[in-house]
């Protein structure tokens, strides 16, 4: 027992020392000089010829002998960067910005028009998986073939065969022809070969989406251990989550040039904010189209009604000349028609109402720059919100909050004076689970009198478990009717680098087992 305690104590003592070592190590690395440069890209330019319709056959080339009918499309406009040994660098940017071209240049599949690329050491790329698989050959034979494509000798492949098969989890099927594999099995085998190649530099293009969740996690863990072994990694991915976890540095490429680079969090947030702006513009555009479509429908319906009315008048005039005995039946049909007309007018009114609602929903966008596209707004607007901001503990407006951080929500309102109002805040998980709500009325047992203009601030410590949530803000009257009700105004994320709890909230807790307090092994949780 005493011995146990002793080792436990020593362990405790060791731990901070170890982390101190780590920090010192990092510092030393900086002091002695950075690790050697493995990849050096200097002022690389790349353009592709874009033919309108490529004249690949003799006839066409004969008719237009000069091949001048093409435009040069510049993809990379001079990019330069260095990657040091053991570093993991992520390339981010929107589609078509040149990330994948950069990666292809690094693998030497493409050659730059200008500039130079130098890489020291063996390069392996996880760009195209399963290239060169032959469907009729067995998994085992294909491992050898595929490995040889990565420049691995048969001897080396023999040595790794067991690892590869174990990693792919295909032990039972390894001697069946590959054509009998499911696509998941196929990709697993391909990934297993590619990732078991010992390389000094590993280039990865958006491939961590292989297999089921368990296999993905395994790949990810493998990647981490490869990185720890000192392999230099360049990765292209749209999953910011993965980038944050693997990369030491992000390079943001925009329109063929490096826009910014730096620590993942910093660059990532900036990039996401820029992307969000673009997305909102797009949604606004789509909403406008939808509204125009509705308006067009309304107009068409009105015209149709008018035309029908005219026709009916004409018909009636003609009918008046007809015999008296038909009049009763005519009366009935007329009533029927009127009924139809009424119904149609109701439909029209309903459409009009929906259009107005949509317009009201759209006003939510003016409240915040992070407005969620699905935001809905209702109410009498006697008093209404003018702006809603979610601030983190540093007072910055963001949509990502660490667990334990204080969220501050600032809501400006304006409207009629002296209205009895109740301010309400609600957090709902993205899958619809209502997680938390608070109202002034319940907190202080009475309604509040509104001013002409004012500001409500709500502060709360974020203990929501890692995930995505939406914010609802409301103003309600004494009888609970809506004054300004906004659902799903902002989508925000509760972030947690080290998830140790499950459920809805991260509750403060302690464990005691057999009278001993269990140490919580959580690094740097900001609780």
């Amino acid at each position: 027992m005493a011995e146990n305690l002793d080792t436990a104590n020593r362990k405790k003592k060791d731990e901070p020392a170890k982390s101190q070592d780590l920090i010192d190590g990092n510092r030393n690395r900086g002091a002695i000089g950075e690790p050697p440069v493995v990849i050096e890209v200097s002022d690389v330019r790349k353009s592709f010829k874009s033919y309108q319709d490529k004249a690949a056959s003799l006839k066409e080339r004969f008719i237009t002998p000069s091949r001048s009918k093409h435009e040069d499309v510049t993809v990379l406009k001079g990019i330069s960067f260095q990657v040091h040994k053991g570093e993991a660098v992520g390339l981010i940017g929107k589609n078509g910005c040149g990330k994948s071209t950069t990666l292809k240049l690094l693998t030497k599949i493409l050659h730059p028009n200008e500039g130079q690329i130098r890489i020291n050491g063996r390069v392996s790329s996880l760009i195209e998986l399963g290239a060169g698989f032959h469907p009729d050959m067995t998994g085992r034979e294909n491992i050898y073939t595929n490995a040889s494509i990565f420049g691995i000798t048969r001897k080396e492949a023999d040595r790794r065969l067991e690892d590869i098969i174990r990693f792919s989890e295909l032990e039972e099927f390894i001697d069946n022809p590959v054509r009998t594999y499911s696509s998941g099995m196929y990709m697993r085998l391909a990934f297993a070969v590619a990732i078991n190649v010992d390389a000094d530099v590993l280039l990865i293009d958006e491939i961590l989406a292989v297999g089921d969740a368990a296999f993905q996690k395994k790949c990810f863990e493998k990647l981490k251990s490869i990185k720890e072994n000192g392999t230099t990694i360049v990765i292209v991915s749209h999953s910011m989550d993965q980038m944050y976890k693997i990369c030491d540095r992000l390079i943001w490429i925009e329109d063929g040039a490096i826009r910014d680079q730096g620590t993942p969090r910093f660059i990532g947030e900036e990039y996401l904010a820029a992307m969000e702006g673009r997305r909102l513009d797009r949604i606004e555009y789509e909403n406008r189209l939808k509204k125009e479509e509705l308006e067009r429908q309304i107009q068409a319906e009105q015209e149709r009604l008018q035309k029908e009315q005219e026709e009916r008048l004409q018909r009636e005039a003609a009918r008046k000349q007809k015999e008296e005995e038909e009049s009763r039946r005519r009366e009935e049909t007329r009533k029927q028609k009127e009924e139809d007309g009424r119904r149609r007018r109701e439909e029209l009114a309903e459409m009009e109402r929906r259009r107005q609602e949509m317009e009201k929903n759209e006003t939510a966008k003016s409240l915040t720059r992070f407005c969620r596209p699905g935001a809905r707004r209702q109410g009498t607007w006697e008093v209404k919100y003018d702006s809603v901001k979610m601030l983190n503990s540093e007072g910055l407006e963001t949509t990502c909050f660490q667990v334990g951080e204080t969220i501050e929500i600032q809501m400006e309102y304006s409207g009629r004076e002296n209205v009895d109002v109740n301010f309400i805040i609600g957090f709902t998980r993205l899958d619809g689970v209502f997680c938390y709500g608070s109202t002034i009325r319940l907190d202080c047992k009475r309604m509040w009198k509104s001013r002409k203009q004012g500001m409500v601030i709500f502060k709360v410590k974020n203990i929501l478990i890692k995930g995505k949530y939406v914010l609802d803000v409301r103003i309600r009257a004494e009888d609970e009717s809506f004054i300004d009700n906004i659902y799903s105004l902002i989508e925000f994320e509760s972030c947690d680098d080290n998830v140790t709890d499950a459920g809805v909230a991260v509750m403060e807790h302690e464990w005691f087992v057999d009278g001993v307090k269990v140490p919580v092994n959580v690094e740097e949780r900001q609780l």
Binding site: K49, A56, L58, I127, E128, A131, T145, R154
Partner: protein, 259 residues
Amino acid sequence: MIQRLKDIYAYRDMIGSLVRRELRGRYKGSVLGFLWTYINPLCQVVVYSVVFSVIFRVNIEKFYLYLIIGMMPWTFFNTSVQGGSTCIRAQADMVKKIYFPREVIPVSYVTSAFVNMLFSFIIVFLAVLASGFGFYWRGMLFLPVIMLFEYLLALGVAFAVSAVTVYFRDLEQIISVVMMAWIYITPIMYAIDYVPEQYRILIVMNPMTPIVEVYHQILYYRMMPTPNYLILAGGTSCVVFVAGALLFAVLERNFAEEM
């Protein structure tokens, strides 16, 4: 240049496994499997020998033997050139997506055709035995030499046509027309002295002529190959090989973009 050769050497196992894949994959699933390697040229030989010895009455002793000795090397050359013209484009998926020295593809294609020819020489030897001609052993020493020359020639042409076809697809069709005619200006179905004096230069200009002739000299005429044919065959083969390899090296840079 040295770097390139080193690079290709590092990928020797890829060449090996591509050759294996080519040889094993081609007939996989067919009932007769690898036997097709023999059946195909054999049928060709049977058809030609019937047509030429029965209908045209070519005046060559044991015509089937003469034909088969010329036909097997020709089949190798023909496969290398025709298949070679499409081999890069057939592997477009790999070329566009992963790095390896591009030379690997034509080299492994031609090598697999070469291995096929080696197998088909079993038939040639059987035919020699069946004819009762027997072997001229001193001359047989030159068989590997002429095979190497033919390999270099085929590889050189395959380098050139595979690279050019990437940029200019009509070549594929042009090649099949050219090959159809080429067999008739090579002394395979006739002896070279049948050709009228004024056209003979045309036949000798053809780089396949000295090669096929050396095969004939060794196996059919049972004599030492004449030095002028050997030198001609060796010289043209090396020149074509180097020229093809250089052309390939120049055109190879933009493969991924052109496909």
